[in-house]
Amino acid sequence: MIRFLGSRLLRAAITIIMVVTFAFIVLRLSGDPAQIIMGADAPPEAVDAFRTAWGLDQPVLLQYFHYFGAILQGDLGRSMRDGRDAIVLVAERIPATLALTIPALIIKLGLGIPAGITAALHRNSFIDRAVMLLAVAGFTVPSFVLGLLLVLVFAVQLGWLPSGGQESWRHAILPIITMGVGGAAVLARFTRSAMLEVLGQPYIRTASAKGVPWRAVVWGHALPNAAIPTVTIVGFMVGSLIAGAVVVESVFSWPGVGRLLVVAVANRDLAVVQCILLLVAATMVTANLVVDLLYGLLDPRLRNQPKRATGAA
């Protein structure tokens, strides 16, 4: 177990280092932040002064080592736009994002998993077809289209809910539904196929053959097995709690981490973008680690065999 955890943590650390490095390189390649922040009309001296102030005049490799050294000391840099600590800027936005993503996750789980199980148990019935039709619709429609559609119906036509902003809890409803529906659709399809796969296994027939009532076969024999593949996708959803709302926050003008990311990228606010990416990588990697541990808990065949445990990383 210690060895298993150790190797997982090492891999997690490597993943994060790679993300940080990748983000650093891409951002340095994608345009001069000094020029963008100071504006096209800024005098060259001012732009140069800005470069010197932020260390952008140094060789890229040196910048990278400085940046990396600072991270190891817990310093994620300051925003080039307003000079505040990037980590503070990002942290301020996290509650707003979680206010959307956590209720949305509850909808995904609460709607998607029961729908998938029901569809599988009534395979090829009307219920199955209806659930799958909704699921295909739910996950093929991009979230910005669904979001705009909901705005059109519930904000513009019916006038029941506001179309954007963050003034009250009513403002959160449409973005939460937009995210929840898409995720529930994905989860319903996934749960259904996992459940169908398990229901076709010989051990399900064995359970029936020894007289276990069907309800107990489903709960006691099928679900614990179907949970194993489903945990992967749920882990991914938990991992994207922080950064999974970029599009929806933009559509609904919701001041969360996702919107901060869009603005920071547009402004080449390097420290903020890097800080968010680091946070995203950390949550995703943590979620994956938890998924791996859950695999071991759910499937005895994966215990003591760390090589066979596969994550979604």
């Binding site: 296994q201 010989p202 051990y203 027939r205 064995t206 359970a207 029936s208 053959a209 020894k210 007289g211 276990v212 009532p213 069907w214 006691g220 024999h221 614990p224 097995n225 759910l298 499937d299 005895p300 065949r301």
Partner: protein, 327 residues
């Protein structure tokens, strides 16, 4: 034969309109051992899955399955749950995938004990240990906490048998119980089934594609072909005087243990597909004794001797010299 324990009458099964079983009549007496042989796809497994209501929903099942007079076909779920594992138990071909991978062996046995004998806690655990001892698993107390993937195929099949015995069934249906196992393990499992039948007095239905396996273990053998029983007889009689050309073909394909070596014969052709069944005898297109009357109607079983019946219009006439029975 005494009053049958289980009686199948005109049992028919179709999957998506394609017939898989075309009328099975079979009685199993209390304590009797019956073998069911035939090629894969002939319906031997389907017969008993249908009898216990274990086929998927798309299968349409008609006819009658009576357990001491009680109709099982389309019975209420609670009636079937009481019968399954409690009065008729079934074990399957692939023991490794027939056990639930996420439950410990002990839990899978005690589940049956709780359902059929109302046992719980330490009492159930003690009985589960006794059952593992009975089916010959060494170190039973420790094995109760093992997972199926930690045991070998043969041991898993013994666990399956222990689960089957947990409900003290009157009939154990063993569906190709040794097909997935090594030859040496096969013999051990077959011997175990024989011993358990003698100890417990339960009846045994052994489903196999291997005539040799069945003949050794069973008092009576039913030969199935294309969804029907074409011949049934006491084991010894079947080997001495097979009446149906198909049975004779199967015996001709077995190498003799005694006497001079001879060329093994194979039955030409293949089993007809369900959607292309001949109008008369399903075996007619492959039969060496085929006459035009064979195509007129599906032959009914005729009695040839005590407990010996064959569904062949030519069963009563002598066989050609080159097709004598190989005993």
């Amino acid at each position: 034969m005494s009053a049958p324990l289980v009686s199948l009458k005109g049992l028919r099964v179709a999957f998506d309109e394609q017939p898989a079983l075309r009328g099975i009549d079979l009685d199993v007496a209390p304590g009797e051992s019956v073998g069911l042989v035939g090629e894969s796809g002939c319906g031997k497994s389907v017969t008993w899955l249908a009898a216990l209501g274990l086929l998927p929903g798309r299968a349409s099942v008609t006819g009658s399955v009576k357990l001491q007079g009680e109709e099982l076909l389309h019975a209420r779920p609670d009636v079937l749950d009481r019968v399954r594992g409690g009065r008729i138990a079934m074990i399957f071909q692939d023991p490794a995938s027939s056990l639930n991978p996420v439950h410990r062996i002990g839990k899978q046995i005690t589940e049956a004990l709780r359902l059929h004998r109302g046992m719980d806690g330490p009492q159930a655990r003690a009985e589960a240990k006794r059952l593992l001892d009975q089916v010959g698993i060494p170190d039973a107390a420790r094995r109760l906490d093992a997972w199926p993937h930690e045991l070998s195929g043969g041991q898993n099949q013994r666990v399956m048998i222990a689960i089957a015995l947990a409900g003290r069934p009157e009939l154990l249906v063993a569906d190709e119980p040794t097909t997935a196992l090594d030859v040496t393990i096969q013999a051990q499992i077959l011997t175990l089934l024989q011993d358990l039948r003698k100890e417990t007095g339960m009846a045994l239905v052994l489903i196999s594609h291997d005539l040799g396996v069945v003949a050794d273990s069973c008092e009576r053998v039913c030969v199935m072909y294309a969804g029907r029983i074409v011949e049934q007889a006491p084991s010894a009689r079947l080997f001495e005087a097979p009446a149906h050309p198909y049975t004779r073909g199967l015996l001709g394909a077995l190498p003799p243990l005694h006497g001079p070596r001879r060329k093994l014969s194979a039955i030409p052709g293949g089993v007809p597909e369900p959607w292309a069944m001949p109008p008369g005898c399903a075996f007619a297109p492959r039969c060496a004794m085929h006459v035009s009357a064979c195509d007129a109607a599906v032959p009914e079983p005729v009695g040839l001797a005590r407990n010996h019946r064959a569904a062949c219009i030519r069963a009563t006439i002598p066989f050609p010299q080159d097709q004598v029975a190989y005993a």
